[in-house]
Amino acid sequence: MPDKSAGSLAADPLALPKIRPPKRPAGTLYRGREGMWSWVLHRITGVAIYFFLLVHILDTALVRVSPEAYNAVINTYKTPIMGLGETALVAAIGLHALNGLRIILIDFWSVGTKHQRLMFYIVIALWVVLLIAFVPRQFMHIFGGGE
């Protein structure tokens, strides 16, 4: 919005502007490649796992308050929404763990930096295999009902 008035000062004399300038004064998103996106995913999953662990330590500590309170909280984990949350948690931990191994190899394996892009795709492939093994079974538990 602020760029509109200023932009018209100089841009008008030529033909009609066919292309609308982007309304992003902050600049475009940097177009990094696999390395940058793996870092973004690693950071997001890392922070998400941290917050889960925080909650998880609290709910486990409840057992010392009273076993009833603990059971009440653990029972809510059996609802479908929490089941989907568990699926997301396994996906996040799987990606974070596999990419963590990739980062260790980049730092400590002499040719790690050379193969970082290939290693990223290997990480994604292993992660997909992991989810194929886990998600159908998890969904049977959530949505299947009787087992």
């Binding site: 200023a6 932009g7 292309i19 982007p22 004064p25 177009r31 990094g32 390395g35 930096t113 050379k114």
Partner: protein
Amino acid sequence: MESKPSAADAIPTFTATLIIRRFDPEVDAEPRWQDFDVELRATDRILDALHKIKWEQDGSLTFRRSCAHGVCGSDAMRINGRNRLACKTLIKDLDISQPIYVEAIKGLPLEKDLIVDMEPFFDSFKAVNPFLMAGSAPKGGKERKQSPVERARFDDTTKCILCAACTSSCPVFWTDGQYFGPAAIVNAHRFIFDSRDEGAQVRLDILNDKEGVWRCRTTFNCTDACPRGIQVTQAIAEVKQAILRGKP
């Protein structure tokens, strides 16, 4: 002499649109995008397009360039979202059916249009002692001898032209301007692994810091951005390992 312009005319021209992120601190409160239609040839570079705009359309467009041949490192800018030298980016390598976005490099204070304040960048560079540190006199002669193998050890990092394309492509540097940045580490690497140099430990101590090499998150943006093809992330990894080993 006479035949030269007509030979140049034989190369077909086309109209490309450049959208440039402009900022005049005397007029604008915030940067703004402005588009320009420019008549170009496939063999032109982004720098030629910027020259055409400045010379024929809008003389107020501001950018740095000196040698214009990829040696001086003056014209690093973000072209279509990636850090590149304007003088080494050919139009034929870009998709001209889409507008070409040109903006200043990120993470350094924007001064005007495509010019940023490079001082913080050079401060980091100076902080790693980017010069030969040798206290002793060369052995029995006038020169410090080095074998081709010893020279090859740091050959890659001698290529740096200090254009700041790597440092300003680093997500860590964008949010933490205190980080030394890839370029400073590359130039430290150039002397740390130089067999003639005696200051490796000093530089390793400088970079073994909260804002030193340990800030590197291996995003490889620097390696992708380097116009000289330096394996920047590899160099940073080697400095990390040298710190862990305690020697180069």
